[in-house]
Structures are given as structure tokens and as C-alpha cells.
């Protein structure tokens, strides 16, 4: 019951937050200097007053700011995110097109980051100050500090260009057509289509960018897991369990890891939220049509409906993920109460 009440409260909070974000981003896009007409019309067209007037009228840019705001908000109440000034398509459709690509990449990245991050964290904590610990810490620091675009180029260079272990950029090899859209996730859609080879190809294309994106989050998870396991290992109840003769493995897996995972879960949640917001540079290098590239192009074009759409999507990601993480706290640690 507590949990349901908690989710209900979160939903109300979410709606209020969404309107707050929409208002803030709307005002910001209008306050910053920049004209969508100049950004989107060519040099010739913008010199023709008739063309400029037609363009402004088409997207309601000729109306007073307050009217534009209320028009936008009214549409938002009907779940209409408006039409992109840059592409002339519904923002909802545009996000629906590029978000699955981002989700697919983010999910594989976060799974890699979580599995290896926790594993490295455990190894590092149990072999504290050993050569192995030093090695793992070096990997995690590198993961956190390496610029992703550079790492992406490096990975592509070695694993694709030099040794051809992984396929090149893009979501599929040229011999395949994109699978019919069901979920938008190519691996799943190809499996639904019954084409295992296409699914495998899509999966292989996912790996290299996922590893690049996982590096940062994995570094954070490793460090958080290590320090929390070390904290938990020095608590009284672990000392008691050890005194009762439990093995080191059993201590960590049965008693320490559960408690140490709560802060790790927060890091995983934040990491996933971050990844779902899109990664412009990595997406560009890997030719990945995700939210990051869409957001970048929209900002460059001062395309305010699209910018607000992306901002709402990112805010929604964080709110949903935070809610899920909060619920999972209670699953991992039954002492946690929802309030």
C-alpha cells in the first residue's frame, strides 16, 4: 500500500515537473539570442521577405511570445509536442524514431557497466591494495576520465579498422534492411522477424559503441561498489558473521553485497538516465541515429518544439528511473520505508 501511495505521489510530481521543464526550456529558447528563421532558411530565402513571412506564419513564430507559450502548453496538455521547425515532422514522431536507437544502446551499455562495474568493485574490495586492486582502480579511473569521442575513435581504429573484430559504424551491415519496426530495437525486431543473422549483426554493431559508453559509468560503479563493500566489510555484523566462520565469498555474496549495492543502484540509475539523454559525439562517430544527434541538430537550428521535446524526454527518463531506483531500494533492503 505504501508503495502504491509512493508511486501515485511520484506521478503527480512528474506531471508538475514536466510542465516546469517545458516552461523553463520554452523561456530559455526564447531568451537566448537566435532566430529559427535564420538558422533554417538558406541565404537566398532569408533575403526574401515573402518567404520569411510565410515561414514565420507556418510555425506560429509571428505571434506574440505569450500566445506562442499558451498555444504550446495547450497542445502539450493533449500530449502534442508540436511540429519540428527544422524537419517539419511531429516532434513526438521524431522522438519515437530516434529514442529506440538510444534505448538499445543505453541498455546494453548499462548492463555492461553494471556487470563489470560490480564485478571489478568486488574484486578490488576483496583484494584491497593488491596488484589486482591497483589494476582495477587504474581501469576505473581511465574509464571515468577518458574523453568518450577519443575512446570511440580509438576503439573503432583498433577493433574495426585494424583487426576487424567488430563491425563498423551504423546499426546494421549494408546487406540488411532495417527490420520492420515493432519495438524499434533492431535486435529484438530482427528476432521477431525470425532473422537470427540480422539480429546477430545488429547485436555486434551494438557492442563497440556500448563498450565506449559503458566505460564512464563502469568506472563510477567500480569505485562506488569498492568503497561501499569496504565500508560494509568493516561493520559489526560482518565481523560477527566472520567470527562464526563464514567464508569470504559467502560473506560478500550473502551479507555485504546487498547492503553495498544501494548506493551502486543510484549510480546505475543516474548512469542510465545520462545514457538515455543521448551522446552526441559517440553517436556521430558510430553513425548512430539516437537522441543525441537529434538534440544537437535541434539546438543548432533553434528548433524550440524539438528542444522542449528532448528536454521533456530526458526529464521523464530521470523521473522514471529515480522512481524505479527508489522502489528497488525497498526490494534490496526491506528496512527502507516509502514516505
Amino acid at each position: 500500500m505504501d508503495r502504491l501511495k509512493f508511486i501515485g505521489k511520484r506521478l503527480v510530481y512528474m506531471v508538475i515537473m514536466m510542465f516546469g521543464v517545458a516552461t523553463l526550456v520554452f523561456l530559455l529558447t526564447k531568451m537566448i539570442p537566435g532566430d529559427p528563421v535564420v538558422a533554417n532558411l538558406g541565404q537566398r530565402a532569408m533575403s526574401d521577405p515573402e518567404v520569411v513571412a510565410a515561414y514565420r506564419a507556418k510555425y506560429g513564430l509571428d505571434k506574440p511570445l505569450i500566445v506562442q507559450y499558451f498555444m504550446y502548453m495547450k497542445n502539450l496538455l493533449h500530449f502534442d509536442l508540436g511540429t519540428s521547425i527544422r524537419t517539419n515532422k511531429l516532434v513526438r514522431a521524431e522522438l519515437g524514431r530516434c529514442f529506440p536507437a538510444t534505448i538499445e544502446l543505453a541498455l546494453v551499455s548499462i548492463i555492461l557497466a553494471a556487470v563489470f562495474g560490480i564485478l571489478f568493485g568486488v574484486i578490488s574490495a576483496t583484494k584491497r591494495n593488491s596488484l589486482l586492486d591497483q589494476g582495477v582502480r587504474a581501469i576505473s579511473v581511465t574509464g571515468v576520465s577518458i574523453p568518450s569521442f577519443w575512446f570511440a575513435l580509438l576503439m573503432l581504429y583498433f577493433f574495426y579498422y585494424k583487426h576487424h573484430i567488430f563491425p563498423g559504424p551504423g546499426r546494421l551491415s549494408n546487406i540488411y534492411k532495417a527490420p520492420n519496426t515493432v519495438t524499434g530495437l533492431y535486435v529484438i525486431d530482427a528476432l521477431i522477424e525470425g532473422n537470427a543473422a540480422k539480429a546477430g549483426d545488429a547485436f555486434m554493431h551494438l557492442l563497440l559503441p556500448s563498450i565506449v559508453l559503458a566505460a564512464f559509468t563502469m568506472g563510477l560503479i567500480t569505485r562506488t561498489a569498492r568503497s561501499n563493500i569496504l565500508d560494509v566489510m568493516s561493520t559489526d555484523y560482518i565481523r560477527t558473521a566472520r567470527a562464526k566462520g563464514l567464508s569470504q565469498n559467502s560473506l560478500i555474496m550473502k551479507h555485504a553485497l546487498g547492503n553495498a549495492l544501494i548506493p551502486v543502484l543510484t549510480v546505475i540509475g543516474m548512469g542510465l538516465g545520462n545514457l538515455l539523454g543521448g551522446m552526441v559525439l559517440v553517436e556521430t562517430i558510430f553513425n548512430w541515429p539516437g537522441v543525441g544527434q537529434f538534440a544537437y541538430a535541434s539546438v543548432k537550428a533553434n528548433d524550440f518544439p524539438a528542444i522542449i521535446g528532448v528536454a521533456l524526454l530526458i526529464a521523464l527518463n530521470y523521473l522514471v528511473i529515480n522512481t524505479i531506483v527508489d522502489i528497488l531500494y525497498g526490494v534490496i533492503d526491506p528496512r527502507v520505508r516509502y514516505s
Binding site: 537566448i32 539570442p33 537566435g34 532566430d35 529559427p36 535564420v38 538558422a39 532558411l41 538558406g42 537566398r44 530565402a45 533575403s47 526574401d48 518567404v51 510565410a54 507556418k58 524537419t87 517539419n88 515532422k89 524514431r97 530516434c98 573503432l156 574495426y160 579498422y161 583487426h163 576487424h164 573484430i165 567488430f166 563491425p167 563498423g168 559504424p169 551504423g170 546499426r171 551491415s173 549494408n174 546487406i175 540488411y176 534492411k177 532495417a178 532473422n195 537470427a196 543473422a197 540480422k198 539480429a199 546477430g200 549483426d201 547485436f203 555486434m204 554493431h205 557492442l207 553517436e283 562517430i285 558510430f286 553513425n287 548512430w288 539516437g290 544527434q293 541538430a297 543548432k300 537550428a301
Partner: protein, 537 residues
């Protein structure tokens, strides 16, 4: 719990291994493949900004090779031939006053849909482009009306003499749409098309043309897929599919070309071309493009200050290090003689880089009344041309001007946040900008002359140079190419050391391609004419 976890990990590992095995490591094995790699042409090009393939709205440079494959125009440029050729037209007559063009269409032309291509389709397509009042509508500015006396005859009546009109008809927005199919999707050529036409979203993802290919799917920032038009009226292509991979990064293009994942890479840079040295099965094309970078002064002394002075302008012209600028822009760059790029009909070619003369520049500055130089701001925006940031060229101009005592402060301003508006309104005192041609005809460059589009951005009005203004009119009205070239030659000489523009670089283009292909050349109107690319024997 532990067993469940273990089972889950095991299942996950099995699924991942199975998927990876199906994926076949670095090489797709072709199992369950949708196309044959041998008959699929894969082209890597930048395309982050590609928004539309609707002929009435299309404008971006990299939409050109796609449009050229999906649609036909009445006339077009083929391969790297600089002479315009009739495509859908069997015969034509351009009136001596350059105000009426009569075209007779070839018989038995048809669209991919199977519908016949008639004069009504031509009139519909061009009127729609005009009435949509979109980015490319300027191309129809001189059209007064279009008559279609019969199914194969089209008569264009122009508002003024326009010797470039046939070249304008090669522009991608003058592509001929299947009007019957387009109307079903909400297209209209009515005067209020800007408000009532609803076909754009459809045409962004599907083509309704008569070209050798049909647009099958467009996924922004990822790829554009074309399939062969089985109803094509001309000679069919060697390829069944053409896939454009939208890769903005030159390194990515270089790597995918070398690995054989793409056949043609259109946006290589100096560095990446160097890395292709010795690569197997890869050849390179290095050519000057038609994109020019120029220094602009405002001719209004109240705006331009000292830069409005003709002697100061000549001093700048004399002191710039053209060779140094060429090196910044990259291999293959040339410096145009004047406003007309090297490669255009009537062009006087290039400016000799030894033109630079610092002593003469100092003397000119002294003549202008600034023997000790002066301080000035150079405003530059955040755009790039042929891969070089305009700020890099501005920095070089600043360094060069310092040699004659002109102390430049560079002011950076985003294109969309102020610069664009100020530039359009002719309020920028001194800048470095670039220009890409809209259509392939020397007349497109007349815009840099007094009283014309770009000339006015420098506040260069007709009354400042009436002789030039008169020659522009003659050039526009002259349909004889030899005579037009003569006029263009005069105009270039008159602006060689005169006027508010210094053309400092004609940027290069670097293409790489797999040697399994032939016919890969630079095409100024289309970026690349893929209709001429074939499989090597």
C-alpha cells in the same frame, strides 16, 4: 536466490553468445541478407542536416546526389561535363531576348509509378516550387508563367531576360514530380501552396520521380536507401540498391572505405586522404569545389569605417598571403581570379599567389591616410566551408593584416544568433564568409556585384559602379555563350582590384572510392553524379 541469479546469467550468456555467433564477428556472413553486396552501391556522406527530399523544399547540398538519382530534370549536367544537356527534352528553343523558352518533351517518358510524364507534370512541379515559398523558391524568381499547349510542349515565359534559365532548370528543386501521385498525397501548385500543400512529409520518405532509383527509406542521421526503378525509361543502373550512410566524421568515412563497407566517401579531409596512401582497392579524387571563401568590407563608411576606403581595401588585397590561406584550407585549394570560380564558363581562372606585395600594401595604406595603420574589428560566424572553420581563415587574415599595421580584433558571433540577420541587412563592417553556388551557371556569381544580393550585403549599390551594373544586365540577357564569356571576362577584370570582396579560396573536395567502380568524379551541381558510376569491368 543464488541459483536463480546463476541461471539468469547463464541464459544471458547463452543468448549473447548465440547473437554474436549469428552476427559473425566483424563480417556479416550474409545469412538472411536483404541485398547483394556486389550490386549495392554504398556512399558515405555527411548528412546531419538533411531535412527533406521534397523537390519543392529541398535545398541542402548533400540532398543533391539523392535527388539526382530519384528525379529527372528537363536539363541536367552529366558526370563532370560542364555543358548542360537536355534530359527529358527532345528539342528546345530559347528566344533571342532570353525571355521565352519552349521545350518539347521526349516521347514515352514515364514515372516510377508507371504514369506518363507530360507537360502538365512539368508545370505542376515548377509552379509548386514557386508557390511553396520555401528555401528553393528563389530559383523560380524569373518565371512569369508556364504554358502547356499540348502534352509534350512546355513554354516558359520569363519576367526578364535570364540567360541562366536553362542552367536553373537543372537545379534539384526543378525536378519533375509525378503530379497525379503527388496530388493524392496533398501536393498542390496553387498560389496558396505555402499554406495548403501537405505532401512534404510523404515526399521526405518516398520519391515520386522518373529517375533510375526510388527512395525507399530515409532514417535521419543514419541512412538513405534507394532501390532501382524498374520502370525507368532510360538505361538501367548497374546497381540494384544505393545506400547513403550518413557519416559526419571524416575518420569514420576513411575507415569504412578502407574496410570495404562503403564504396565512396565524399567528405574526406587532407589528413584522412593521407591515411589512404597505399590502401588496397582505394582511389582518390582531389578537385577544387565551387565553394568560395571571401573577405568582405562594408562600402558604407558609417558601417565599414576605414574598411570602406578603396585604397584600404586594395592594401588588404595586396597584403594577404594567398598561399598560406590555401594551405589552411587544404590540398586542392585555389585562389579565384575574381568573383567567378575557376571551372565556370568564362572564368579567368586563378589569381597568382605571388600577387602578395607587402610594400605596395603599405603604400596603399599610406595613400588612404593610414600610414601607421589602425585598429579594426573583424566579425566572423561559427560556420565552416569545405571542412575549414571560418574562424581559422579569419585568424590568418588577422595575422596578415598585422604586417601592414592593421590591428584586427576577431569578434565571433553565431550565425543563428545575430550574425545571419546583420549580414543579410548589410550591417557587418568587415568579415570572412563563404558562398556555395545554388545552380551551376556563371550568372549565379553576379550576385557579388553592385546592386545584387551579396553585393548589397556589402552596401555596394549600382550607382557606385554603373558600368558594372550595365554589364550585369548585358550578361543576364546574352544567350550566346561566347559573348557572355566575353562580358564575364570584362567583369572579372573590373573587379580584380576593385570592390568590397576579396575571394581568398576556392575550397577543395576530397573523395575516396573503391576501384571496383568507374565514373567517380566531382560534379559541381550534384556533388557527385551517381548516375554515371558503374561497376568496373
Amino acid at each position: 536466490m543464488k541459483k536463480k541469479l546463476l541461471a539468469l546469467v547463464l541464459v544471458l550468456t547463452l543468448v549473447i553468445s548465440a547473437l554474436a555467433a549469428c552476427g559473425g564477428g566483424g563480417d556479416a556472413d550474409g545469412g538472411g541478407a536483404d541485398g547483394d553486396a556486389a550490386t549495392t552501391l554504398v556512399v558515405a556522406m555527411e548528412g546531419a542536416g538533411l531535412e527533406t527530399f521534397d523537390p519543392g523544399n529541398v535545398y541542402e547540398t548533400y540532398a543533391s546526389p539523392v535527388m539526382n538519382l530519384c528525379y529527372d530534370n528537363l536539363f541536367n549536367f552529366v558526370g563532370d561535363d560542364p555543358n548542360v544537356q537536355p534530359i527529358l527534352v527532345e528539342s528546345y528553343q530559347f528566344s533571342e531576348d532570353a525571355k521565352t523558352l519552349t521545350c518539347v518533351l521526349k516521347p514515352d517518358l514515364k514515372f516510377a509509378s508507371g504514369n506518363p510524364l507530360t507537360s502538365a507534370d512539368v508545370a505542376f512541379s515548377i509552379n509548386r516550387c514557386k508557390n511553396l515559398k520555401g528555401n528553393p523558391s528563389f530559383i523560380t524568381d524569373t518565371i512569369e508563367s508556364i504554358e502547356t499547349p499540348d502534352e509534350r510542349t512546355v513554354v516558359f515565359h520569363l519576367t526578364e531576360p535570364d540567360s541562366a534559365f536553362i542552367s536553373k532548370l537543372t537545379y534539384k528543386s526543378m525536378a519533375i514530380l509525378d503530379s497525379e501521385a503527388a496530388k493524392e498525397q496533398g501536393a498542390t501548385d496553387a498560389a496558396d501552396a505555402a499554406e495548403t500543400d501537405t505532401a512534404r512529409n510523404y515526399l521526405d520518405n518516398t520519391s515520386l520521380g522518373s529517375g533510375p532509383f526510388v527512395l525507399e527509406k530515409y532514417t535521419p542521421n543514419e541512412e538513405i536507401v534507394l532501390v532501382r526503378n524498374e520502370n525507368y525509361w532510360g538505361e538501367p543502373s548497374d546497381f540494384e540498391r544505393v545506400v547513403f550512410k550518413l557519416q559526419s566524421d571524416a575518420n569514420t568515412q576513411m575507415m569504412t572505405l578502407t574496410q570495404g563497407d562503403v564504396d565512396i566517401a565524399l567528405n574526406l579531409t587532407d589528413d584522412t586522404v593521407a591515411q589512404l596512401d597505399g590502401a588496397e582497392n582505394v582511389a582518390v579524387v582531389n578537385k577544387p569545389s565551387m565553394t568560395v571563401c571571401f573577405v568582405m568590407f562594408n562600402m558604407d563608411p558609417e558601417i565599414g569605417g576605414p574598411m570602406a576606403n578603396k585604397d584600404v581595401q586594395q592594401a588588404v588585397r595586396l597584403c594577404l598571403d594567398y598561399q598560406g590561406i590555401q594551405q589552411i584550407v587544404g590540398e586542392g585549394t585555389v585562389t579565384p581570379y575574381s568573383f567567378l570560380q575557376d571551372g565556370f564558363m568564362g572564368s579567368k581562372g586563378t589569381r597568382d599567389v605571388s600577387y602578395t606585395d607587402i610594400e605596395a600594401a603599405k603604400q596603399k595604406l599610406a595613400d588612404a591616410g593610414y600610414p601607421d595603420g589602425f585598429d579594426v574589428e573583424l566579425t566572423v560566424c561559427d560556420l565552416s566551408f569545405t571542412g575549414t572553420a571560418l574562424t581559422d581563415v579569419a585568424q590568418k587574415v588577422k595575422d596578415d593584416l598585422a604586417k601592414i599595421g592593421i590591428n584586427v580584433t576577431i569578434v565571433q558571433q553565431p550565425w543563428a544568433a545575430g550574425f545571419g540577420d546583420a549580414y543579410r541587412a548589410g550591417e557587418v563592417p568587415f568579415t570572412v564568409m563563404y558562398w556555395n553556388i545554388d545552380y551551376f551557371d556563371p550568372n549565379v556569381q553576379l550576385e557579388f556585384l553592385p546592386g545584387k544580393l551579396v553585393g548589397l550585403r556589402a552596401k555596394w549599390t549600382e550607382d557606385m559602379d554603373p558600368e558594372i551594373a550595365a554589364l550585369i544586365k548585358d550578361c543576364m540577357a546574352e544567350t550566346d555563350d561566347a559573348k557572355r564569356a566575353e562580358i564575364l571576362g570584362k567583369l572579372q577584370d573590373m573587379t580584380y582590384e576593385n570592390g568590397p570582396f576579396i575571394f581568398v579560396a576556392q575550397g577543395p573536395c576530397h573523395y575516396g572510392y573503391n576501384t571496383r567502380l568507374t565514373g567517380v568524379t566531382f560534379s559541381a551541381p550534384h556533388v557527385i553524379d551517381l548516375t554515371q558510376v558503374k561497376l568496373a569491368e
